[in-house]
């Protein structure tokens, strides 16, 4: 029988749908990350909101402009966007199980095979970040930029999450194991805490302030906070987008290069 080859987008669509089905069939795998992110939000707000929030305007602690939730919500969103790191795990699972080899024997573009888990990673980031923002909004977050501000934050979270997706794909294919891909997301912890996580940068001790200046997470947090607290302050927001977008660009390019070597025949 002669079959017309399916188009690239058909292939991408089919492969993405398959991964989404897998995601839907093990919903428990989504829980830890969303739980940690929600937990951060509630606990940090509970512990620190009293000091840094409230009506402390005019005191040394007025950086949150009276609503600490607006300040701490970006931390949870950044944490939620790490769920993009699942992309690498999906890809390596398919390599380990032999599904990848099966696809190599079919007339499918290898780029569709590599892109599908990244698309699903993106879906995950958007879902988790939206859930966290909804939770934040319910308990009292209130962006200075209005409702539109949430979309700007979501956009930044998306790029940041894609950065983790690219990173995990590269680490996963290079190590050839899902543990390798999983380990990649550990990078997230120092990244999240060597940053102005709980207070603005100027309040950090010298060494941490220096570390934070080199940590891209800092600029993403500051960008999101500008949206939440100050309004459309162009330079901080732009910096946030540039850093998140740059991170995504670099790791995704790295992922493409790694995946290319991995899919070559041995």
């Amino acid at each position: 029988m002669n079959y017309s080859k399916s188009s690239f987008f058909t292939q991408l669509g089919i492969l993405t749908k398959r991964l989404l089905l897998r995601l839907a069939r093990r919903p428990l795998a989504e829980l830890p990350n969303i739980f940690i992110s929600a937990f951060f939000l509630l606990v940090y707000d509970g512990a620190l909101g009293g000091v840094f929030g409230g009506n402390a305007a005019g005191t040394p602690f007025d950086f949150a402009n009276g609503n600490f939730l607006n300040f701490i919500l970006p931390v949870s969103i950044v944490s939620a966007s790490v769920s993009g790191g699942a992309s690498g795990i999906y890809l390596v699972e398919d390599i380990e199980s032999g599904v990848f080899k099966r696809y190599q024997g079919m007339p499918i573009s290898k780029w569709a095979i590599i892109l599908a888990p990244i698309v699903v990673g993106a879906v995950r980031v958007l879902l988790q970040a939206t859930l966290i923002m909804t939770l934040g909004s319910i308990i009292g977050a209130d962006p200075a930029t209005g409702f539109l501000g949430y979309f700007a934050v979501l956009g930044m979270a998306f790029f940041w999450g894609m950065g983790f997706a690219g990173y995990s794909v590269a680490a996963g294919v290079r190590s050839g194991s899902s543990q390798g891909a999983q380990a990649a997301t550990f990078l997230f912890f120092p990244a999240l805490f060597l940053a102005p996580t709980f207070t603005p940068r100027y309040a950090l001790k010298g060494w941490l302030e220096t570390a934070a200046a080199f940590n891209p997470t800092t600029y993403v947090l500051e960008g999101m906070r500008a949206i939440m607290i100050e309004g459309w302050v162009s330079d901080l927001i732009l910096k946030g987008f540039l850093v998140a977008g740059g991170f995504a660009f670099i790791t995704l390019s790295f992922a493409v290069i790694s995946a290319k070597t991995a899919t070559e025949k041995s």
């Binding site: 079959y3 080859k5 399916s6 058909t10 089905l21 093990r26 032999g98 007339p107 499918i108 025949k265």
Partner: protein, 320 residues
């Protein structure tokens, strides 16, 4: 053009950190259209590596291979359209159902949505998974998974089918079901290349067999040709103790020993048995039992490799 597969001096060297591994040293064979060709060999013989090279999934170190006159390196995508592949390490998505997998596979092969649905039904029926179609593959038995795997390799109606150890690890019942399925496919005109560690399987299914060991072809022919290449009968003598067997082996020329048994190939078993028994009795060695048989593939394997194929033992044990 009557050849479905032509492999010429295939060689594969893996470069690893521990040095080079010559997985396939020199493998050549021809497969006629419409036949089942068996590649028989123990674990590590190079069967899977050979299959991966023939199916375009592994780079060939040297040598050439053609499928339906198409070069597997130069015309790899055309080759992939013509062949079906069921690899040894079945890559099946455990979280999906057989119906979803058939549908997805059909779509990826370029069938429209409605044609994919029809093909899915057809395939489920063909491999006997209609009832289990909407259960996740995770819940399937080993035999069901192999049947599913076979079915997935057939979705695009390949002309040449490669099956790498399709029944390894299955119970005798499930093995039978797959054997029948494979024969049915041949009767429909599909050329099948299958690898196996089981002599019985090669004997039952293959029109022709290539025995490979340590990356080399050590014998080739139809099962009957291979058996008659040994000629005569195989006499098996069983003793009460290993010691007796060892003593007997030193007396009987050209005999092979295995535990309490020795085997010797002779031109005419019926004539030779009394002589052998007399000889042993004269040396005070007690024989527990004696039998003469036409040579089996087992004997062929022993002759060409110098050892017995382990897989067969496990097969015998399993089928008890």
């Amino acid at each position: 053009m009557l050849l479905a597969v032509e492999a010429k001096n295939l060689k594969k060297t893996f470069k690893t950190k521990q040095g080079n591994v010559e997985a396939v040293r020199d493998v050549s064979f021809k497969v006629n259209k419409g036949e089942i060709f068996g590649i028989l060999g123990p674990n590590g013989a190079g069967k899977s590596t050979t299959i991966l090279m023939l199916t375009t999934l592994l780079r060939i170190t040297s040598g050439t291979a053609k499928i339906n006159d198409l070069d597997v390196v130069k015309n790899d995508s055309e080759v992939r359209n013509k062949i079906g592949i069921a690899l040894q390490d079945t890559g099946i998505d455990n979280l999906l159902t057989a119906r979803e997998l058939f549908y997805t596979t059909a779509r990826l092969w370029g069938l429209s949505k409605s044609k994919s649905k029809d093909r899915t039904k057809e395939m489920l029926n063909l491999v006997g998974l209609t009832e289990a179609a909407d259960r996740r593959v995770k819940t399937y038995s080993g035999g069901m998974k192999r049947r599913l795997d076979l079915g997935l390799s057939l979705v695009h109606k390949p002309e040449v089918l490669f099956l790498d150890e399709p029944t390894t690890g299955l119970d005798p019942g499930s093995r039978r079901v797959l054997w029948d399925e494979i024969k049915k496919l041949r009767d429909e005109g599909v050329t099948i290349i299958l690898t196996t560690q089981y002599l019985e399987e090669a004997d039952e299914l293959a029109n022709r067999i290539s025995i490979i060991d340590e990356g080399l072809v050590v014998a080739e022919g139809t099962p009957d040709e291979l058996k008659s290449s040994i000629g005569g009968d195989v006499i098996t003598l069983t003793f009460r103790s290993d010691d007796d067997a060892i003593k007997a082996q030193t007396i009987i020329e050209n005999s092979d020993i295995e535990d309490k048994q020795i085997r010797v190939t002779v031109e005419n078993g019926a004539e030779k048995i009394p002589n052998l028994l007399n000889l042993l009795v004269s040396k005070d060695i007690n024989v527990q039992s004696v039998s003469a048989n036409k040579p089996s593939l087992d004997d062929v394997f022993l002759k060409v490799t110098g050892y017995r194929l382990e897989g067969e033992k496990t097969l015998i044990e399993e089928s008890k």
